[in-house]
């Protein structure tokens, strides 16, 4: 359940931003989480429920976008290969693929009031 620690970090960043912009409350926290990270969406939502009380995000909506794992092959011209099985070896030529998406861990935006 490292999602607790991660959510704590998210709320710290969000409250810091609200402070900076003189906002009294946070309406929306929008996250982008790569599929190829060890973060479980349900656990993150649970952590948010547990930790939001008493923060400026008490009434906020948590929106989590899961970013699918995608890669490109340095050898083939394939630029945007979806990877359903986490295999980073090209199915066509066996080259090592370069990850282009799916490792994100970011707050995309906050909606402040």
């Amino acid at each position: 359940m490292h999602e607790m620690a991660i959510m704590q970090g998210i709320l710290e960043i969000a409250e810091g931003e609200a402070e900076k912009h003189g906002a009294g409350r946070i309406n929306v926290i929008k996250l982008r989480i790569g599929e190829f990270r060890g973060v479980v969406r349900d656990a993150l939502e649970f952590a948010f429920e547990a930790l939001r009380q008493g923060t400026k995000a008490e009434q906020a909506a948590l929106e989590i976008e899961t970013v699918p794992l995608r890669a490109s092959c340095p050898n083939c011209s394939e630029r945007n290969i979806p990877l359903n099985d986490f295999s980073l070896l090209c199915r066509d030529c066996g080259s090592i693929l370069t990850i282009v998406a799916g490792r994100e861990m970011e707050i995309e935006y906050l909606d402040l009031e």
Binding site: I13, I96, Y109, L112
Partner: protein
């Protein structure tokens, strides 16, 4: 209502502390390894065996991370190597701050190679950098050949993967070839050593690699030191 677009990564605070730890290690010429695995895969056993083979030639130290008890640190101290125990209570991983706090209480001066044994957990530790120079994962082969595909992140993050308990392969029905294929699928550049802490199998190859790594870092550190002092 207004939208604020952010560029800060969620793990930024931990990353900054991790870089700070890294500066402390580098300033003292210490090489640091973060050792991760699921509970009971054999991290402490691997450390014991590795220490026995290397302690005459290198100044070693260990930081142990566990939920509770100092048992693992006691096992290391028994070998005459300085060990410091971090107990995390309920937290399932070490983070850069816990290690930083440990560095205030544990004198790492004079240590060349510091191992940090993470809390036993197959998922969480991989998300938290500690400022280490190398991540190593221990995996117990009896847990099955398919786990790298089901829990790919730690395998992906680790430069070296030790496939431990190979003495149990005959009883487990697990195929070492299939397991290695699955590790390489999620981490094509992984350096893999099949080992057994029970029989010692594989430890020659693994410790030879580790000696090579630390020696290469030693000479890089000396060169950097000479450059800094104008020699």
């Amino acid at each position: 209502m207004h939208q604020v677009t952010l560029e800060t990564g969620i793990m930024e605070a931990n990353e900054q502390l991790a870089s700070h730890n890294r500066e402390l290690y580098d300033a003292q010429g210490i090489s640091v390894i973060n050792l991760m695995s699921a509970p009971g895969a054999g991290k402490t056993s691997v450390l014991e065996k590795t220490i026995q083979r290397m302690k005459d030639d290198y100044r070693l130290g260990v930081i142990e991370g566990d939920l509770m008890t100092t048992m693992d640190a006691d096992r290391i101290s028994a070998l005459g190597v300085p060990a410091y125990q971090i107990t995390t209570g309920t937290v399932c991983h070490l983070d850069a701050r816990m290690v930083h706090n440990a560095l205030h209480n544990f004198d790492i001066g004079g240590i060349e190679l510091l191992f940090i044994e993470n809390v036993g957990n197959l998922v969480c530790p991989a998300e938290f950098n500690l400022g280490e120079h190398l991540k190593i994962m221990v995996y117990s082969v009896v847990e099955g050949a398919e786990k790298p595909r089901k829990y790919p992140v730690m395998f992906h993050e680790s430069a070296v993967v030790l496939l431990n308990k190979v003495d149990l392969l005959p009883y487990s029905g697990v195929s070492l070839e299939e397991l290695q294929r699955n590790v390489l699928a999620v981490n094509p550049e992984a350096i893999i050593f099949p080992v057994s802490c029970r029989t010692g199998e594989g430890f020659d190859a693994w410790t030879e690699w580790l000696r090579g790594w630390i020696d290469a870092r030693r000479s890089a550190i000396t060169r950097a030191g000479n450059a800094a002092s104008g020699n």
